[in-house]
């Protein structure tokens, strides 16, 4: 394992991210489909606002994958076929109550803190990664940087023009009640990082 990959994995796991090595995007799609199908159904938070689309969560599990290319989306859809997973790519505002998982591709990784860097200019992507119970992100080993300073050029490029960029380090958490760590404050309860060897 390369040093950066090793360091990234170690640091990401320290902040309770789940890191898995994969060899191809197909593996990533299969991982997501299988994981969501096996996952216990998402705990609905609110019946959203009354006039919003009321999500039907009875047997289906929702996997959102905005901003994939058409080919990628088709491949993911194929992986979800025949499972209880319903794949969507938009309309996230109708699902403010929560979905099972959001599937994204990260733009970079910061090894010293085990963070993924993700340009999230699109609203669908941002919401998908926030209201999902699990965020599954694919990260190429070739886009790992030692730390944020080393990634400066990438970051400045991502922030060119109107932009919204995130460093995401582990699942959402809080320690505001008696300083006791609680996972999943407002965002995902789990962060899965699929490290793609490329």
């Amino acid at each position: 394992m390369s040093d950066l990959k090793k360091l990234f994995t170690e640091k990401a796991e320290l902040v309770s991210a789940k890191v898995t090595s994969i060899k191809s995007m197909d593996e990533a799609f299969a991982y997501a489909a299988k994981y969501v199908a096996a996952k216990s159904p998402c705990e609905l938070l609110i019946p959203s606002s009354p006039d919003a689309v009321q999500p039907e969560f009875s047997d289906e599990k929702i996997l959102a994958a905005p901003e994939l290319s058409d080919d990628q989306y088709a491949a993911l859809a194929k992986a979800c076929e025949g499972t209880s997973v319903k794949l969507i790519k938009s309309g996230m505002r109708g699902y403010m109550a929560g979905i099972d998982a959001g599937f994204t591709i990260a733009d970079g990784g910061l090894c010293d803190t085990g963070s993924i860097v993700q340009q999230s200019n699109g609203e669908e992507l941002r919401l998908a990664t926030m209201v999902s119970e699990t965020h599954i992100a694919v990260l190429s080993v070739s886009s790992l940087y030692e730390d944020s300073i080393a990634a400066e050029k990438l970051l400045l490029d991502l922030m060119d023009g109107v932009a919204y960029t995130a460093f995401i380090t582990g699942p959402s958490r809080t320690a505001d009640i008696e300083r006791t760590l609680a996972i999943g404050a407002h965002g995902p309860l789990e962060l899965h990082i699929l490290l793609l060897e490329d």
């Binding site: 803190t113 919401l127 407002h186």
Partner: protein, 714 residues
């Protein structure tokens, strides 16, 4: 929020905090846990280098603030953002209310922002009939309780899970369990609808990056990301001090900020927003984004040579995390809106002298905050200076003026001390006073007071002065008032140890009190006058070193004198020579004389050590005393050795309740080592520790480290 009108009311407030057992326990656990986590987080980080980088960048940003604001504004406007500058809190609040009105807003969600706390934005918006919901869990909790934050990073740190349980049960109408994880889920659920329904989101900003018009926000919960995504309008409010030139500046500060705040390497989310992003529910599919920069006196402070360093603050809250006073009373008493060491200072500038005048006295000057600050701010130095400014504005309290007058006149001061010896006779009980003169009596019973010695050190010196031919160095002694008049035997012990090593020793008679006590009271002119007297007293001695047995004197003589006399042409050079020669006793015998185990008969006595604040943090003398102890006896380490004993000179008189609580903790830790001997390097600490041990009747022998060495000399 701090609202006491005078020191007396403020003391009552603090008593209330001291009586809150949950708070005390919880803060203790936090303080101990924090140290461990922080140390781990910094393990592979070059802390001083990073802190210096942050300080330099922030200093640059303060000096070039107007240009950075201009650059930021251009970049942000290019990206469709409306940028505003508000001169004060009222203007900022009005601006934000107007944005809400113009956009027909009803519900507002907020992601944590200290700047909006500073302007009391929520009150303003609620008065204008907007529904405002805080979405950070801690903020949401205190919003429901109608309280201010008690910590900058953990706003609800003062509350127990049971209090949160009650609060949430009342809100949801369900009987909830006191389980933080489950309670967090409740907040997740309750707040989700607010995210969905809100028209406007308000956030703070940790950084405003001029080069690309981006703001950076660090959160753990992810609420900032939702707050800035779901509603159609986003307003960020930030002090102008949040401007930095480049992204790398922000990235550098981000290496320290979370590590210093909570011991995390990075918060779960760092969100960089540059411009009016996509928003499906907006008419043109674009979010309306505003940034309100708040001045509120900042540009004026930026011109203040001494205080402009407060803008190095990254609001990590670490100065509170390590403050022993904050640990006892919590943020509602140790601050107004901003809390901890930086809070005392910011309160003065942002909320006025009236709010700050009691708070600034509640600094014990232990230096813990300075040693941990992410921006390398000299917090205790600034707090001392604030006292002086407040005193100047409001007139000195009578005791301060009196002490000032006395101290300015060395002869008068010393005659009074000599007179004290006679005056105390009817109250003596062995080496302690049986009871204290009335003016000192109040609430000081937790500790016995020593009596004034029969003969001060200055009168004994000629008898014990060693005769040395061909000395290897010449040393002049600085005794400080306590060792001169109360504990001359400590000085004698030091002379005995040094005399073995062929050192010529001198004691200039014109020396006086070092002046730290009057500086702590805010008497700046007297501090300067006394400093000059001492510099003059040693100028003629032709010595290589000036050795002092008092850590507080040493740090004051070495660090503060140069600053105090810098502006004085006649003293500028003299004081540099003087300060360069100052050395504390332990460093002198350990590093310069190079004593070894061979100099001592190592006893098997277990000896505990109290690491005095001014020695370990200000002068960074850590190993020397411990090595010396191990040469003469068995060093028995105790828990929290370098936490302040609670003396702090005038602090112990002003806040006896706090002082005695700190002393109790200290002695409890020391007693746990089972040692029956305790040494320290500072007569103030010794007075306090010895007096406390006497009242506790713990049988502890409390002495200066010089006495331990002298007793075991071969």
């Amino acid at each position: 929020m701090h609202n006491a009108n005078n020191l007396k009311e403020y003391r009552e407030d603090m008593q209330e905090a001291l009586d809150n057992e949950f708070l005390r326990k919880s803060m203790d656990a936090f303080a101990v846990g924090y140290r461990i986590n922080r140390a781990k987080a910094f393990a592979d980080i070059n802390e001083p280098v990073l802190i210096k980088q942050i300080a330099d960048c922030k200093d640059y940003a303060v000096k070039n603030n107007a240009a950075l604001l201009k650059q930021f504004t251009e970049e942000a406007e290019k990206r469709g953002v409306h940028v505003h500058l508000a001169k004060d809190a009222e203007e900022a609040n009005a601006l934000i209310a107007k944005i809400a009105k113009d956009n027909n807003v009803k519900k507002i969600i907020k992601s944590k922002s200290m700047t909006s706390e500073e302007t009391l934005l929520n009150h303003y918006l609620e008065d204008e009939k907007y529904e405002v919901v805080e979405t950070d869990l801690g903020e949401w909790i205190i919003q429901m309780r109608h309280e201010g934050p008690s910590h900058m990073v953990m706003p609800a740190i003062h509350l127990s899970r049971y209090q949160v349980q009650d609060l949430f049960s009342a809100r949801t109408g369900r009987e909830l369990e006191p389980d933080p994880e489950k309670l967090t889920k409740v907040a997740r659920q309750e707040l989700r609808r607010d995210f969905a329904d809100a028209d406007m989101g308000i956030s703070g900003a940790n950084f405003c990056v001029a080069e690309n018009g981006h703001i950076g926000i660090a959160t753990n919960e992810g609420n900032a990301r939702l707050t800035t995504t779901a509603p159609r309008i986003h307003v960020a409010i930030a002090g102008i001090d949040k401007l930095v030139p480049k992204l790398t500046d922000a990235l550098t500060a981000l290496k320290v900020l979370p590590r210093n705040a909570t011991g995390q390497t990075l918060t779960s989310y760092v969100t960089w927003i540059g411009g009016a992003n996509e928003c499906a529910i907006a008419e043109d599919q674009k979010k309306e984004m505003h940034i309100v920069f708040l001045d509120n006196g900042r540009s004026k402070i930026a011109e203040d040579e001494m205080f402009s360093q407060i803008f190095r603050c990254v609001r990590c809250g670490a100065c509170a995390n390590v403050c022993p006073v904050y640990r006892l009373v919590g943020g509602h008493k140790m601050g107004h809106i901003y809390i901890g060491a930086i809070g005392l200072i910011l309160t003065y500038f942002f909320h006025g002298e009236e709010k700050a005048k009691n708070l600034v006295h509640n600094c014990i000057n232990c230096g813990a905050c300075k040693s941990i600050c992410a921006g390398g701010i000299d917090l205790p130095g600034l707090i001392k200076e604030l006292r002086a400014r407040i005193n100047q504005d409001s007139g000195m309290p009578i005791e301060t003026t009196l002490l000032g007058k006395v101290l300015k006149n060395r002869k008068l001061f010393h005659s009074l001390l000599r007179f004290g010896k006679w005056a105390q006779t009817p109250m003596k009980k062995g080496p302690y006073l049986r009871h204290l003169p009335l003016m000192f009596m109040k609430d000081q019973g937790f500790r016995s007071f020593p009596t004034i010695a029969d003969k001060p050190f200055r009168d004994r010196f000629s008898e014990i002065k060693p005769m040395v031919h061909n000395p290897k160095h010449r040393v002049a002694l600085f005794s400080g008032c306590v060792q001169d008049f109360v504990y001359p035997e400590q000085m004698e012990a030091a002379v005995k140890v040094m005399a073995r090593h062929n050192v010529a020793i001198d004691y200039p008679m014109e020396q006086s009190c070092c002046g730290l006590p009057v500086q702590m009271m805010g008497e700046k002119q007297v501090t300067i006058d006394v400093a000059k007297q001492n510099v003059d007293a040693f100028e003629g001695t032709n010595c290589d070193y000036i050795v002092t047995l008092c850590a507080s004197c040493a740090s004051h003589l070495k660090e503060s004198y140069v600053e105090l006399l810098e502006g004085d042409r006649d003293y500028k050079e003299k004081v540099k020579r003087f300060s360069a020669k100052i050395i504390d006793f332990s460093s002198y015998v350990h590093d310069v004389l190079g004593v070894t185990t061979d100099d001592f008969n190592k006893s098997d006595e277990k000896v505990a050590y109290h690491s005095s604040c001014h020695l370990c943090r200000e002068l960074k003398v850590i190993e020397q005393p411990r090595n010396l102890i191990d040469m003469a006896g068995e060093y028995a380490p105790s828990a929290e050795e370098d936490v302040c004993c609670g003396f702090g000179g005038t602090f112990t008189v002003k806040f006896p309740e706090l002082s005695s609580t700190l002393l109790d903790k200290k002695l409890t830790n020391i007693e746990a080592t089972k040692a029956k001997r305790l040494v320290a390097d500072c007569p103030g600490c010794l007075l306090h520790l010895r007096g406390g041990s006497n009242v506790r009747e713990n049988g502890m022998k409390v002495t200066h480290i010089a006495e331990l060495l002298a007793e075991n000399l071969k």
